[in-house]
Structures are given as structure tokens and as C-alpha cells.
Symmetry: D2
Subunit: 499 residues, 4 copies
């Protein structure tokens, strides 16, 4: 199928894709696949106002009824899974299985959120005063601005949208300028669900297309109480304080610099598979991609040999082709940054395997590379940075304590893992003295989280949580209520004040 | 007892109180009661480093054992309740009952936190993959910087300290320059508990005395991952973004502009008592003090008459004297700001009752005033600001919807209440379309929260939560863990990646 | 449509419905609509053994995957809603809207359980010992025997089945002999879902048709660790102890004797509608049907007049006809018991309005009655019994305390409600000193629970809980786990035991 | 100290201990230490009535205030720890450290329950209907009958009493006839706390002394809604059905037949210490005592040798003597049953080491034995029974699956453990396909639970849960509340019923 056919199959016709100012290129071949109409920044106040009006209606719709909208959305996603997955591939360059996996994740979070819609549990609490009832309830907050990144062009949005809608909040979505097509296709699914739902307010979900100015309107408006932003640490370091300064609530999912510790007892065959998937999957462009390998010195040599062997046979190429495991980087800039980073690594004493541009047997115009395996003498500065590309740095360790220290000694805090069959090592890694990341796995790579858990991490990862567990509380306001149904007026803490 | 005797009874002797650069005055009579040695800002890095070292030890101490320290602290507070309450009165000018109530609140939070120390519940979560175990656990975060305000010189600190210690975090406390003496006396109680406990690490709890520079060191340091700050909205608008910019976690408890709606069905006798206590208690210097009265037009006149009668007999004076209900403002600056604000209210058409300086039959040197009742034609700009003084603005309403609109139409979001015997009104007030405050009460004034609930609010109140419910999670980091104990390596969302 | 056509539309063809020993009659017209093959009691051990084998496989299927089966089941129910609802009407005599409502309830619980399938939350718990991890997890229990009653021939089963399947348990269902057709039709839906699911074990869900002997096999078998039984108190008083005696877990939903207190401030129009629906809906054959009306003496007369007026115009007749609100009783025996009970009420001084057999303009062969309103001088013994028919006893009260006392003074504890606009009355009714029922409503009748809450009650109601909240825990076993990953062996409570 | 002095130190003077009909013997030397006045069974109705009256007052006391009573009780226990521990030793024959540990457990549960008293969390739940509020709250139940066993004469009672009191329930305690003295001493502590508390109702806690008839009064009375019984499976099989038959709630803690699996990778030194403590501690008379050792065949021989060596040096004797690890059995009957059981084991092919009566160097009159280590060819019938004595059966296994099968193949389900350093084995043991016990430990013996977790198990263990987690819910009734504050009356599930 041509690019156009793929987009048409997902409901995006010529008219939607042409005549605008935002050129969109496919990572597959660098071809311009659309020139989109951008949202005029001057319209943003009206868009936000529309969301506020929708909010006043939507917050009063019972949550299980709001859940019905999310259920219908999930049904649309199920029906359009193949088509939408293909747009993910076209727009973000992911291989087919990962494109489908991303849509599956959207479906999963819808199922989860439908269940939530009959929960949204607050607490009833024992009061210290007779004739008093105390409770903590959760209420809708208002419009949620969602700023998403190119590498998960729709899944992370769906985490936000499924929770936000169930929680009673309208949404305004600014997708990455690099992958707006998937956003448009996914939003169409939601629009179809809205039609089936029937009586949702206008402006409940709005998609805005464009660049920094559009995003800034969401970040700066007091009428957007929540801003959920996924992207780089640099972006987060700007967005977070701005939202905070106007007393909004930022939900930040920023960089990761995710490591795996491989202990002597590890099942090495499993480890190799996990390493390769998590280091080169999505061409190393997941926020949870494996970037650092911390191997016990006793097994380092053997493991590196196995990895070199595995890396040497990885099928790099057109992500649409069956058999391809490594698709393109998002653009040439990303490739340039990768190569530059590898030079820095070499300068620090690193030995680089792979990490070269590929131009044979791949679609021309795309930024294809062989994944890089870099043996480092130590964790130098370039290792402590996140490079959004398939670079895997290998270091070695002597004691588990050292390995954990090295794992934690980066500014980011997203994901981490250990491969070991030793109970004490595994539990130590998960303990208060273990990994300092928001995600910590044992015998699993750092990427590929299930939606049932909360996703995010501390430090430069930004501290936000999305997806499962009680991440929904990030989309609501908490209210502590006390009702005095007695005819007395006792004060807490035994204070006396008799007028 | 003289000021000195009171301080000595609380363990603060001459040496601790003299020879320094920070002059401390009692609101009671404006007398200088101490000149304290200030912490040298240059020492802050070492202080923070000491806390970090303590952290590495304390995080490994089992939480129930950490709870034992908090239990011992509670016992010290019980033993010193009268003495510590007297220092609250001396240092913050509160009446005796309120001084004791503040200590009782400290005791309550200790009891609560001891129970928590055997909980700190995370979740086990159903995994979608066979042979996998998923869980969400909570781990200590590191040193907590606590910046507290003069008006609750010790209770808010105790909320933080009880939770932080149980959660595995060291603390560094910068109390207000206006009320450092209560801080010193309370910290002595904790030090005694530490001695009885036996083997806590050095630097687990540190008290730093001084001004903005000291606070800035906590706000700016990456080694203080949590900063819990109580104070003005202005302070919060500076602290929040700074902490956020370096990827720390701010817990902000800022301004309130708390209202009561009085409905036609209200029990007016109860309402009057609640209004007076919450508007003039602590001389209107609680963050939860009642500042706005929104009365149904049908009962406004009668209620205002009752309030004028009640206000006219309020005993203003020495807070140590039995019978006094209204003590001094914290200083002359606070009184000047109050009088100035009343002039603004008059200019907006307000009719002011009371609100005058008092100099007869009160200790000389203190900033005594009669509480002000101000009948306003509408909610003008001066009403929408928080003035930390006993000013109560009275407005009227026609429909409950209007009343709620007016109640929410201020930038702050801390506390709120309604007096009504009508079920529909009460529940509407507590619903998603009701009060937008973090605290919402029915037939109780806005102040005097129990420690079992979470304390805080959205909007300019800063969004933080302290004290009960799961506020403890604000002091820990969340970790989503998945353990693969199978010999397979399935990927989530059904992704295939076979190398 | 004829009875046969209705059954055929729901997938029950001639072969399934004929040639057996169990005659099934429709309450609509008393016609025999099927003679079903009964399960041979001698087969029960093999059936139970099959469930045990299925269990060993199903418990290892990840819960979210188990949830997928329940999602598919929900989809089948959505698709078959009209047809299945019609069988409810045919089999149990419910009016069309209630038949459809029962299916909707099945759909709702499926949505809820799908969400649960990624939760089934246990706890991680702070351990008092260093190097120890403590958790509470929930595991599947084994086969669940479900014994359901005629009046909710499928909804209550669906509560059990949705939870049991997600929790990892096989099910064996013995429906009432009076309404096995709906059971068969509903089980077909599940079977279709199983086919779409693909790889569920044989014997995961089994339907057994027959009488007491079949039920006894479930009650007595140690291989059926959970028996969930809905029905009469008499049945429960036999089943509960038997299950307990062999250390199984009974989940009992037994009788109710549900009251409404109508306070002076009640919105009487709403009250009348709620009373009529909950007293005569399903012809008074819900376990939550309203049976006792406790009215404040000041409004009794007026309310009784309104009710008499409303009762006099209630359309009694064919439940399939649009407009009908009161369908038939389940059989003539039920009618006879109703009339007999009315005689007892008269003997106790009751004045009976309505309560007569209807033979005009109704399908011949059905047990149609006009609902009975009985003014009682006091709560006599016959009032304290549950009669499964549309009898509403009216008593009066003076003080709320008395009303609550009267409401609680029956052996049953299922549902209860109050109509009042007075906050104090409403909260008192819901307080520790209020209703002793498992369900307590304000300004809603006692029937018609949402699936999000737990359903059940104490006293003769049996103590079980089904449906929402954490009722799923009743289908799992709880395990407290402690893992020592240190190299030390400390004992809890500081015990020393040095060998 | 003499027996009398020990009892006097714990507040039990001559008058309390003499002149009655119940002879109490110390296991230490078989001496009669008291002849107690027994409660007249005819008094039981009045005692229960008193509890019911206390209930109506206590349920309205705010839970945090009820918690204050439990806090005071904990303080009394701290003050009397040594004295009370000595009575445990005297009354139950435990060694000093275990006697003190039992009191410590009482203190721990008090701390925990005090924290709970500001929680007792119910849920607020999202309603499907507009203008409706849904919540699940927990209310007091009424008097709790506590029937406790001799082997934990006070700790298990304290679990019940701390939770029951905080939950708002009075208690009536029937301790074992074999250890009533500790009960009396512990109850004195509670009485002192009640005096300090001040205004608790009479009859809040009552102690009844006597035998089966007394117990039966609690079991049979509808006015004792909860019966918490600890003891033998035989007792539970009688009590459970009886309580159930009158619709009460039984909380049963019955037999255990607790196993340890020792895997090849186990830390054998740790395992040996854990085995010995848990098999011979409390002379094998804990419900969680280790009774079955399932050892991998590859390490069986070595482990048995180590155990034989350890067993051969165990100090058996006076439990008051420092150094003693194995005190007496409770009485001669217990010794006879142990010896008889060993004969059965021999008949089944078992090789018995130890297991002999001891009369040298021990107090005369006590039932002292050397612990028995029994090598069994397989898990025969006698192994599948619980014998309350220090008998440890040793079996071997080949695969972990077999070991788990063997571990689960007994009728009891209390506690279990595995010693392994292998992550996969540990996690498998804890999984849905692992141990079927309520307690499952890794690298810890089966005994010595922390109070933070729930205690109990399924199968013949009875299914009850006490102590930590949400065991408190077993002491309360759950109420699902829905409040309609709108002026509409929508029905759930979309049912229409328009009169």
C-alpha cells in the first residue's frame, strides 16, 4: 500500500492532509506525506474556553456513563487496529508488530479505565468528633492539556485520554509535529466513539496541530489546570516550572537512561534476547529503551560476544517488511546526534561495534543505522546522557552494591532491571537500597510496561505517573469533607472557644 | 511566669537564647525574648550532606522500627504538652487553649504515623504475563526540607516530621524567623526521643535558624528531593517552580480565602459560634481562617445582627489570660496591613464593624485589634485577596448555585463550608459541581481539620497534601516492579520480536 | 412471538427443551414450556472433578487474559440483550423493562470485572525485620458452586461468574428449577464467548440442571471450596453450616425484609414513586423489594391516600405488554402464600387494600394479583417475616430513633432506606446507630442496587457480599508472604532463640 | 520467685486465686497454682446483655477516642511486660524470651490499632446516576465472643481485643481452662487502662472463666454476632456451623500442619536454625510450629545429620531458666499423645530420633520431652494430622512441583515456607500454583508472624483472619449507601417504571 492508501484506510483523506503549512515526513523514506493545516495560536483561548464549557457539563455526567464513552472508544480501536497500527509505522517508523502493540496498549487502557469508572474510590474516614462523618472524595479538575512525543505517537495520549475522560475532564491534545498523522487517525476513532455515545458536550476532546506556540498556550493558561507532557528533560525543565508558577499541575514523563544489571547467575539466553529487544526495539527510541548494560566482570566477555553475534544479524530496514526488527530513526537529525555521540564515546575510550549508517537494501531517504554496542571503560559523561538512538553502553562491575550505585548514578530515573536467578540479588535490587527508578524489573528488559502499573519515575524523569494503579488521581482533585450532623459544635484537638 | 521562665520550662535556657543575630519578639508585648544564633548559609551544604548520609542508613531501618522513634516523640510531646503549649502562646500569640490544641495535633499525628509504620501499603497487581509477578512499592526518597510559617509554628512541622521519619527520610527544618522559639523547644522533644531510641543516625533531624538564604539552600539543592513549604502564595510561587526546575518535589501549603455559605435552613446558633471561632480564632491568622461569609439574602440581616452582638463582646487581650479569645496579631506590620485592607474595603462600599486597634487593658507593645466584620455590596478585589488578620467580609446570595460560584471565584482553594440542614444543599456543595476547595465542611467552620484527613488544596493553595489519608505517599517514591520467574520472555501487548 | 420462538431466538431449540423430566412452566400463563433433561446426581463427582482439573490450568492463566474472556462474554450479552431479556420475562414473569435491566446488570458487571482483571490488588506491607519483604497476595481458590434463585435468574449468577472467572476459578451453576431456561440461554452466551476466547480449559463453566440433590453435591464436596447461594433464609440456614462444617466458604444472599422510613420533610412525590416501584416492581419478588413502610405519624394519612390512589391504577397483566407494571407471581403457590399472609395481617388488626387475585384481562393460567397495601397497628410477627409477594405493610412512628429501632427489629438485614430532606436525619440513618442493613439508601427505594457497590447484608441475610467493591476477595484466598533476602534470621517481636 | 510471687507481681492476689472450682496447674511442675471461681453458665445471658448495652454506647464513641483506650492499654502492657511475660511462662510453660515476645506482640497490635482508629477506611464509589453519592462504610457489629487457646494465652486475645475495641465492639473473653491466669493478669492491664480512660461503658470488656458450657453460651447467642475462636480443628468444626446456623460470623483460627521445603540452593545454616526454632520453640505447641520438613533428596542426608546434631544439644528444662530453649508440654496428656503418635510413625516406617520423656534435671511434675525428629518414607496418615508437640517429620522430594504437591496435601492450611536462594523456586512457591496456606514464607520458618500481616488460613485452618492488614473488617459490618440528592428518581440499569 502507498502512504496515501494507508492514511486513507485510517480515515485521513486528501483534504485533511494537504494545503497546510506543517510538512510531515515519514521516517521510512523521508517522503513528505502531508502538509497539515496548523492551529492558529490566536485560536487557543477559544479552544480552551470551549473545553472549560465542556467541563462544566462533563463533570456532572456520572463516571460510569463517562466510562461508556471510553468503552466505545476501545471498540473503535479494536476495529481499526490494523489500520491505525499501519499509520504508527508510517508516521513513527516502528515495525509492524510494534505499531500493533501500541494500538493494543490503547485498547488495554480503555478496558482498564472502563472498570475504573465504577470505582474512582475515595475514602470514608473515622472522625474524632461524635456526630461527624468524614470522607475524602475525588472530583474532576478541568481541561487537561496533553503534549505527546513522536515515539509513542498515540499510546501515551490514550493513557491520558482514557483516564482524563473517565475522571470527568476534557482534553486538548498537541501531538508532536513529527507524528501528527497518527494523532489525527486516533482522534478520528475517538470522534466516532463520541458520535455513538450521543450526548457528550462539544469540545470534550480537541486536537491542536502545530508547534511550540500552541504548546505554550496550554502550559501558560490557568484554565488548563493539568498539563501532561511527555518528551525530553529539557522540555520538562521548562514546562514544569511554568505550570507550577501559575499553580497548575504538571504530569511529566521525561527522559530515561535505563540500565540492566546482568549478574553471574543470570539466564544468559534470556538476557540476550531481552537486551537486544530493549536496546534496538523501536530503534532505541523508547523512553524505556535499554541504554546501559552493567555486567558482572566474570561474564562480561562472554555476554559481549553473544551480543555482537546477535547484533550482526539484526535485520535493519523497511519497518513494513515482515522480518525487519530495526526500522529507521525518526529523521536525519537523530542519526547525526547518534553518530556524534558515538564519537564522544570513542573519545572516552569506548570501543564501538556497529553504529553505522545503512543505505543498502533500505528505503532511500530514511535514516537507517546499525545499532551500536559500545564497550566503555567506565560510566563517562556521555553515558550519563540520554541519546535517543540504538546505542548500548556496556560497563562491568564487581559487587552488586557497586552495580546499583552505577545504575543510580545518572540524572534520570525512569526504568531499570536486573537479570539474576539469585533471590537475594533480585530483592536487594527492588529494595529501598536498590534501583532508584520508577520502574524496576527482574529478568525482563526495562521497556514494555504493562498498563496495569503506574508509569513514570523520579529525578529528571519528572515525577509524573500515568497509566495504571492510582495514576488516575493525578487527573482529579482531592477533597477532604467533614459533615457535622449533630447539634453540637466540638472543635478538633479538644480546643475550647466558648463565646 | 515570665517569658524566660516559660522558655526555661520548655528546655530553652539562657545560652540557647542569647548572643545571636536574630532578634525574636513576642507578639504578646513586642518584647525581645531572644537573640538567636543563626545558621551560617555556608554551612548548608554540610548540613544537607549530613542528612544524605543519615538517609543511607535510615532508609534501611525497618519502618516499624522507625515508627518506634515517632512513638517516643509522641510520648515526649505528651509529657511536655503544657510547657510547649505555653511557648506557642509566647512565640505566636495564640490563646492558651489553642496553644495546647496545637501540641495535641502533634501528638495525634504521631499516633497516626506509628500505625502507618506497619502499613506504607503498596499494591500487588495482576500481571498480564504468565510467570510474572507485579507490584508497586514505596521507598524512602531522601532528605525533606521543611519550611514552616509562624502561625502554626510546630503543628505543620510535626505533620511533616512524623510522616517523613516513618517513611525513611531525614529532615531539615527551617522555621519562620518570627517563631523560632517554639521550633527549638519542639525540636528538643524530638532530640530526647532520639536519645531514648538509641541508634538513629546523626543528622536525621536538623534545625536551621535564619532567613531567606537558608531557605534557598534547601529549595535549590538536588540533594533535598522534597521541599515542604507552608506560607504565602507569593512564597509558593517562587519555591514551587525552583524546586520543579531542578526536578525536586514541592509540597506546598499556601494561602486560603475560606468562605462559609449560610443557607436559609442553617442552625443559626451553631453557625454564629462557628463563624466567630473560625473568623477570630488565632486572631484570623490561620490559613483556614474564615474570611468570607456568603449568606442567603433572606437571613442576612438577622445573622449580621447576631454577629455584631457576638463581636462586640469578644474578649481581646493577653492570650495567656483565661477568658481571652482574641490575642494579638503577630506584629505591627500585620496590624497595618489589616487597617489598610479595611480602608480598601470601605472604598469598595464596605461597611466596617470593629477592626480597630486596641490599647486598653492589653499588654503594651502587642498589636491588638478588634476583629472586623465588613458588610460588602459584592465580592470586590480586596475580598478576593487573603489578608492574614481577623477580617470577615459578608456578602449575600440568592441561589445556591450563585453562592457556590462566588465561593469558588477566588484564586485560593484551601477550605470552605456550608451551614445548612438541607440534604440537597449539603450534598451539592460537596459534589463535583460544588466547592473547589481541598477542604469542604458541612455545619463546621473552615478551620480545625482533624489529622486523619489530608490537608491542602488546589489553585493558589499550591496543591500539596499533608497529614492524614495517604499524604505519606508524598514523602516516598513509587516503584512499579515486575518479576519474571518463568523461563520465557513474553512481551507486553503481544509484541513479537524474535531474534 | 410464541414462547417457542422466544426461546429459539435465544438459541434454545426444540432438542434442548424436550424429552426430559423437569417440567418448566412460564409464570405468564402457567404453560409448560419445556421438559428438561436433568443432571444425574451420580454425575456430580465427575463434574466437580472436571472443574478441579480446569482449575489447575485456569489459575495459571494471567488475570488480564481471564478478563478477556469476561469481556467477550459481555459482548455476547450486549448482542443478545433483547433475546435474553425476553427469556427472563418468559421464565420469571418480569416486565420487559426489568428483563432488559437484568441483562444490563450482567453487562455492567462484566465491564467492571474486566477492569478488575488488571487489579486484584493485594498489599505490600512494611516489615519490622531488616532485609525482609512482606506482602499480601490473592490467589484463585478453586471451583465455585453457584446456586441461584428464580427471581433473578441470571443477574446474580453473572455477578458470581464474572468475578469468579477473573479471579481464576471455574464455576458450576445450579439455577432454580423454576427458571432454568434463562440459565440455559445465558450459559449459551458464555459458551460462545469461550469459543471466541479459544484456549480456556474444558469444564471451566458447567451448568447443572435439577433439584436439591444436585445442590447438595455442591454443598457437601470439599472440592468445591466456595458455595455462593442465593435464596431463602431457610435454605441458607441449611447450606451455610454444611459448607462451614467441611471448611468451605459460603457466600450467602438470603432474605430481606426491607423498609423505608418516610420522614416529615420527605419529597412525597418522589417517595410515592419510589415506594410503588420498589414494592410492586417484579411483583414484590425481589430480595430487595420494599415490604415495610415506616411513616411519620404526621404525614401517614396523606401518604396512604396517595399510595392507595397510585395502587388503584397500576396496570397488572401480561409482562410482555407495553404498559404493564405488575406481572404475575412465579406460581400459584406464591399467590396462595400471599393471600394467607394477608389473612394473618388482618387477624393482627391490619387493614388490607388490594391483594386480590386477578383473572380479567390477564393471560389465563398465570398467578396475577393486585398489590396489597396493609395498614398495620404495629409491627406484628407477620410483618417481621419475608413474604415473597407484593405486600407492603404501613406502620407509623413518632421519633426517628423509634423508626430506626422498628426498621432494625426484624431478623433480616438486607436493604433499607429513608426519605428525608433533612441532613441530620439522613446522616443518622447512615451512621453506626442507624440502619443495620447491608444496603442503606437515602431518597431511593431499597431495590435496584448498582453493581459498583457490594451487595448483601448481615443477620439472616447471610453475611455474604457479591458484585462490586472488593466482593471479589470472597472468591480468592489471601496469602501473607514474607521473604527474607538477608543472610540473617531475626525473629519477630524480638524473640531470641540461639541454638 | 515463687509461683505466688509471680502472680502477685502481675496483680493476682490470693483472693483472686483461691476458693474456686477450676484447678489450674503450671506446666512447669504440674503444681496447682490456683483454684479459680468459675463463671456460672446461668450468668451468661446477663453478661451478654451487659455487653449489648455497652455496645449501644460504645458504637457512638468516635473511633479515634476508642483508639485512645487501646493506646492506654498498650502503655499498661509496656509497663507490665516483664511481670506479664512471667505469668505466660508460669501458665503456658513458655521460655522467658517467648513469654516476653508474646507480650511484645500485644504491644505491637495496640500501636497498630491506634493508627487504625483514625482510618477504618470505607470507600466512596462513583455512582451511575446523576445527583447520587455512593459510599461503602464500616460500622460496629456488637459484642465479640473470644475463645482463646492455652498456647498463646494472651497474644491472640490481644489481636482480637485491640481491633474489636477500635472497631466499636464490646468483648467477652473465655480463655482456655488451661491458662486462665495469664488471661486474668492481662485483663487487669485492660481494666487499668479503662480506669485511666474514664468514661467507657460498663461491660465493655468481660472475662468469663470456665469450660465448654460457658463457651457454648457465646457460640449460641444471637446477641454475640461475632465469635472469634482459636483452637483445634475439632473445636472449629463444631463452633463454625453453630455460629453460622444462627447467622453469626465465626472467625476461626484452627489447626496447622506447617511444612518447610528445603531446596538444594538453601542456605543450610540458616535453614537449620529456622527449623529448630520453629519445630521445637514453644515445645512445638504453636499453631504455626514446623511439623513437616520436605527436603530435596540431594541434601536430605546432610541436613538430617545437622539437625540430629542440633537436636542432641537442645537444652530441655525449666522455662524460667536462662539458656533453656525447650520447656514443658502443657500437660501429661499432651505428652502421652505425642508418644502415641511417634509409635504410629514407627509403624508407618518412620525412624524416630529423640522424642523421649525427660525426667532428669527438669522440674518434677512437668511433662518434659526431647523433641522428635522422624525420618519418614512418605507422607503417611499420621503425618497429615496435627500433633501439638515437638515432632518434626522429614520427607524428601525430587521436583519442586512434587514438593509443593506434598506440602499442600494435608487438610490444614495455616503456614508454610521454603528455603531457597533460587528466585524461580521462591516465586513459584508464592504463586497461584504454590503453597495453599494463608502464610507463606521464604527463608523464614513458618512461625513468628509479624502483626502487620493478616494471620490465618483456609481449609481446616478455618478461613478466619486476625491481626494486621484489613483483618479489622472482620469485626465490622459493611454498609453500601447511596444518597440521592437530586430531585429525580432514576433507576439503576436503565430500568423504566413510570407510574
Amino acid at each position: 500500500m502507498t502512504h496515501k492508501e494507508i492514511l486513507a484506510a485510517a480515515g485521513l483523506n486528501e483534504a485533511a492532509l494537504t494545503g497546510g503549512t506543517l510538512a510531515v515526513y515519514s521516517p521510512i523514506d523521508g517522503a513528505e506525506v502531508a502538509s497539515l493545516h496548523e492551529t492558529d495560536p490566536a485560536e487557543m483561548p477559544a479552544i480552551i474556553a470551549r473545553a472549560q464549557i465542556a467541563f462544566r457539563q462533563w463533570r456532572n455526567v456520572p463516571a460510569p456513563r463517562r466510562g461508556e464513552l471510553v468503552r466505545l472508544f476501545g471498540e473503535e480501536l479494536r476495529a481499526a487496529k490494523a489500520e491505525l497500527g499501519a499509520v504508527v509505522t508510517l508516521d513513527a517508523g516502528k515495525i509492524t508488530s510494534e505499531g500493533l502493540g501500541e494500538v493494543q496498549e490503547m485498547i488495554d487502557i480503555c478496558d482498564f479505565a472502563v472498570g475504573l469508572s465504577r470505582q474512582l474510590y475515595g475514602l470514608t474516614i473515622a472522625s474524632e468528633r461524635p456526630g461527624h462523618r468524614m470522607a475524602e472524595t475525588w472530583h474532576p479538575m478541568g481541561p487537561v492539556g496533553i503534549i505527546s512525543a513522536f515515539n509513542f505517537p498515540v499510546a501515551v495520549w490514550s493513557w491520558n485520554v482514557a483516564l482524563a475522560l473517565v475522571c470527568g475532564n476534557p482534553i486538548i491534545w498537541k501531538p508532536s509535529e513529527k507524528s501528527p498523522l497518527t494523532a489525527m487517525a486516533a482522534h478520528r476513532c475517538l470522534e466516532r466513539a463520541l458520535v455513538k455515545f450521543g450526548d457528550a458536550p462539544d469540545g470534550l476532546s480537541q486536537l491542536v496541530i502545530g508547534g511550540a506556540e500552541i504548546g505554550a498556550a496550554l502550559v501558560d493558561s490557568r484554565d488548563v489546570p493539568i498539563v501532561s507532557a511527555t518528551g525530553s528533560t529539557r522540555m520538562g525543565s521548562l514546562v514544569g516550572p511554568k505550570v507550577m508558577a501559575r499553580f497548575g499541575r504538571p504530569i511529566l514523563e521525561l527522559g530515561g537512561n535505563n540500565a540492566m544489571i546482568v549478574a553471574p547467575s543470570a539466564d544468559l539466553d534470556m538476557a540476550v534476547r531481552a537486551i537486544v529487544f530493549s536496546a534496538v526495539g523501536t530503534a532505541g527510541q523508547r523512553c524505556t529503551s535499554l541504554r546501559r548494560l552493567i555486567v558482572h566482570e566474570s561474564i562480561r566477555e562472554g555476554l559481549v560476544e553473544k551480543l555482537k553475534a546477535a547484533y550482526s544479524t539484526l535485520p535493519v530496514g523497511d519497518p513494513r517488511a515482515s522480518g525487519t526488527l530495526v526500522g529507521p530513526l525518526v529523521d536525519n537529525g537523530a542519526r547525526a546526534r547518534m553518530l556524534e555521540q558515538l564519537d564522544r564515546a570513542r573519545a572516552d575510550g569506548g570501543i564501538v561495534h556497529g553504529g553505522e549508517s545503512v543505505s543498502d537494501a533500505v528505503p532511500q531517504g530514511g535514516a537507517y543505522v546499525t545499532p551500536a554496542l559500545v564497550e566503555m571503560p567506565s560510566q563517562t559523561e556521555c553515558v550519563r546522557e540520554e541519546t535517543f538512538a540504538p546505542i548500548l553502553y556496556v560497563m562491568s562491575y564487581e559487587t552488586l552494591e557497586d552495580a546499583i550505585e552505577m545504575q543510580n548514578d545518572v540524572p534520570q530515573g525512569l526504568s531499570s532491571c536486573i537479570f539474576t536467578l539469585n533471590l537475594r540479588e533480585a530483592e536487594t535490587f527492588l529494595s529501598a537500597a536498590g534501583s532508584d527508578c520508577g520502574i524496576a524489573n527482574v529478568n525482563i528488559g526495562p521497556s514494555g510496561a504493562e498498563i496495569g502499573g503506574a508509569f513514570g519515575g523520579e529525578k529528571e524523569t519528572g515525577g509524573g505517573r500515568e497509566s495504571g494503579s492510582d495514576a488516575w488521581k493525578g487527573y482529579m482533585r482531592r477533597q477532604t469533607c467533614t459533615v457535622n450532623y449533630s447539634a453540637e459544635l466540638p472543635l478538633a484537638q479538644g480546643v475550647r472557644f466558648d463565646i
